[in-house]
Symmetry: C2
Subunit: 325 residues, 2 copies
C-alpha cells in the first residue's frame, strides 16, 4: 500500500490555506496568518487523519477537528514564546518579537477561538465527545506549561514529575488527535483508547529524544549548537538523572555548573557533558526513549486492524522520534 503521508499533508495544508483569511481588523489576523503559515510538519493533524484512515473512516469528516487541534497547538506556541521571551520560532521571528506581547496575547486568543470553530465541524453525533477530549487536553497542556515553569525555580525534580510534565505539555495533544480520528471513524472506546496511549508514549519518547539531541545531537545535521539546555539550566531528563546518579565529586561539579556563574558557557557544557558521559546517560536516555517507543508500539499492536493499515503511523512516529522529519 502506498504511503498516504504526502497526500494527507497536502490535504491539511490546502484546508489551512483555504481557511485562512486576513480580514479586518488586519492587526488581529495578520499575526495568525503569519504563525499558521510558518511551516511546521502538521504532525498532529496528520495523526488524526491516519487514525481515521486506520478504521476506514471518512477523512473529510476529520479534517475540521484535526486542523482545529493544529491551530490550538500553534496558539500555545504563540503564548509560550511570550512567557519564554523567545525571539525565534522555526527560524523566523516569533510573533511576540516581530510585533509585541499584546499582539501575541490577543491574536493568540482569537486563534484559540478559531481552533474551536474548526473542532465544532466534527460530525454532530461525535461533537460532544471530541469537544470534551479537546478541552481536557487543552487544560492538561496548560498544566504542563505551568509545571515546566514551576520546575525552573525548584531545586529538585523527580523523574516521575518530569515525565508527567512532558506527558501533559507535549504528549496529550498528539494523543488526543489520534483518538479524535479513531472516534470519528467509529472505532470502539477501547481501540480509540489504545491509540491514545500509543500517542502519549510516542510523545514522551519524542521529548526525551529532544533532550538527548540538545546535547548529543550532530550540530551540522540539526543546524544549531548543542548544549543550549545546559546553558539555560533547563531541567531535562538528563539533568534530573545526573543529579540522581552522581557521586559526590560529580555532584559538586554539577552544582557548581548549574548554580555558579564562574564557568563560561563552553566550559559549563563541557563539564556537564562529561559527567553525562561518565554516568552513561547518553545510552541510558536512548534506552529510556526506546522503552517508551516500545510501549507505544505495544499499544498499537493490540489494535485489531491489518498491519498495513498501521504502516504510515509507524513510519510517522519513527521519523518523528528519530528526527527524520
Amino acid at each position: 500500500m502506498p504511503s498516504k503521508l504526502k497526500e494527507y499533508t497536502s490535504k491539511i495544508n490546502e484546508y489551512i490555506d483555504s481557511a485562512s483569511l486576513v480580514k479586518d481588523p488586519k492587526e488581529l489576523y495578520l499575526p495568525v496568518d503569519y504563525c499558521l503559515g510558518n511551516g511546521g510538519k502538521r504532525v498532529r493533524p496528520l495523526m488524526a487523519l491516519l487514525a481515521c484512515d486506520m478504521f476506514d473512516g471518512n477523512i473529510e469528516e476529520v479534517l475540521g477537528p484535526a486542523v482545529g487541534m493544529e491551530i490550538f497547538h500553534n496558539f500555545t506556541l504563540m503564548h509560550d514564546d511570550i512567557m519564554d521571551q523567545a525571539p525565534l520560532r522555526r527560524g523566523k521571528p516569533s510573533v511576540y518579537k516581530k510585533w509585541n506581547a499584546n499582539t501575541a496575547i490577543l491574536s493568540g486568543d482569537v486563534m484559540f477561538a478559531l481552533a474551536i470553530q474548526h473542532i465544532a465541524k466534527s460530525p454532530e453525533k461525535h461533537l460532544k465527545k471530541i469537544l470534551d477530549l479537546f478541552n481536557r487536553s487543552v487544560i492538561e497542556v496548560c498544566e504542563g506549561q505551568q509545571y515546566d515553569m514551576n520546575f525552573e525555580t525548584l531545586d529538585k525534580v523527580s523523574e516521575a514529575d518530569y515525565i508527567n510534565m512532558i506527558r501533559l505539555k507535549t504528549a496529550v495533544l498528539p494523543a488526543a488527535c489520534l483518538k479524535s480520528g479513531a472516534i470519528i471513524a467509529g472505532a470502539s472506546e477501547l481501540e480509540a483508547g489504545m491509540l491514545y496511549s500509543f500517542g502519549e508514549n510516542v510523545g514522551i519518547a519524542f521529548q526525551i529524544m529532544d533532550d538527548w539531541l540538545d546535547i548529543f545531537g550532530d550540530e551540522e545535521t540539526f543546524g544549531k549548537k548543542t548544549g543550549g539546555d545546559i546553558v539555560a539550566n533547563k531541567k531535562t531528563w538528563l539533568y534530573i538523572k545526573a543529579f540522581e546518579m552522581a557521586n559526590e565529586y560529580q555532584l559538586r561539579d554539577l552544582r557548581n555548573s548549574f548554580t555558579n556563574r564562574i564557568y563560561n558557557p563552553e566550559e559549563k557544557i563541557s563539564i556537564v557533558k562529561n559527567i553525562y558521559l561518565e554516568l552513561k546517560l547518553n545510552e541510558l536516555a536512548l534506552n529510556k526513549m526506546e522503552d517508551y517507543n516500545k510501549k507505544a508500539l505495544d499499544f498499537l499492536s493490540k489494535i485489531e486492524v491489518a498491519d498495513e493499515k498501521k504502516e504510515d503511523l509507524i513510519t510517522l512516529a519513527e521519523d518523528l522520534i528519530h528526527r527524520k522529519i
Copy 2:
C-alpha cells in the same frame, strides 16, 4: 410574579462555587479562583437564565453554558488587564498586578478552556448551535478589543466605527447569553434573534452611559474621580462627537487638550468638559443612550410571551444602564 433576580443570582454563584476547585498546579488555578471569586454582578449568566425562563425552559440545562460565558468574560478581563497594564479590577489588584503577566496569560488560557468545558454541558441537541454562537461571539470580542487598541493611535474615528467597536467588545456577549437561554428553552430562531438584538442594544446603551458617567457622573455615588477618560485621551462617544461638532475655537482647544502636554489633568478635564457642555453633549449622549434603550425594548416587545415574563429582564437592563447595580 415575584422577581427571580435574586434566586437566579444565588443559583449562579452556587454553581460557580461548586465548579471551582484549586487543584494542582496551584500556581495555575489560584489566580482563576481569585478572578472568579472577585465578585461581579453575574449579569451575563443572569441574562441566559432569564431568557430561558421567559420561554418556560429548564433553568438547570442553561446553567452550564451560562457560567461558561461568565468564565469567558472574566478571562477577557484578565488578558485585557495585561494589555492595558491595569493595576486594579473591581477595586482589587488585577491578576496581572498581584502575580505577573505570565501568570495572567496562562491562567487566562486555562480559564478559556474551562469556559468551553461548561459550554459543553449544553443539552446535546443544542450543543452545536450554542458552540457556534459562543465561538462567533468570542471572535467578535477579540475583534472589538483590537479595534479599541487601534483607535488609540488613530486621529479620527467615526461614530459608526465607534458604535461597531463597542458592539463587538461589549454588546455581543450579553446578546449571545440571552440567545443561548432562548435556544435551550426551545424558542424559535426568530424569537431567539429578537432577544439577541435586545441584548446588543442594551449593551451599546450601557457603554454610552459608561462614557457619560466617566465625566458627568456623581463622584460620591460612583466612588471614583470623574474625567479619567479625558486624561487618558480615550476615544469615547463624547470625544468623537465633540470633534465632529466643534467650531474652530472649540476644535483648537480640543486639539490642544488631547495632544499637548501643557495642561495639567484638572485643567484638561475642565476645558474638555466645558466644550462638551457648550455642545450639549451631556444631553445628546443621554438621548443617544435612550435611543438604543428604546430600540432594545422594541425588540423585546415583539416577542410573543406574556408581559410579566419580561419584567425581570427589563428590570435587569434598566438597572444595568442606569447603574443601580
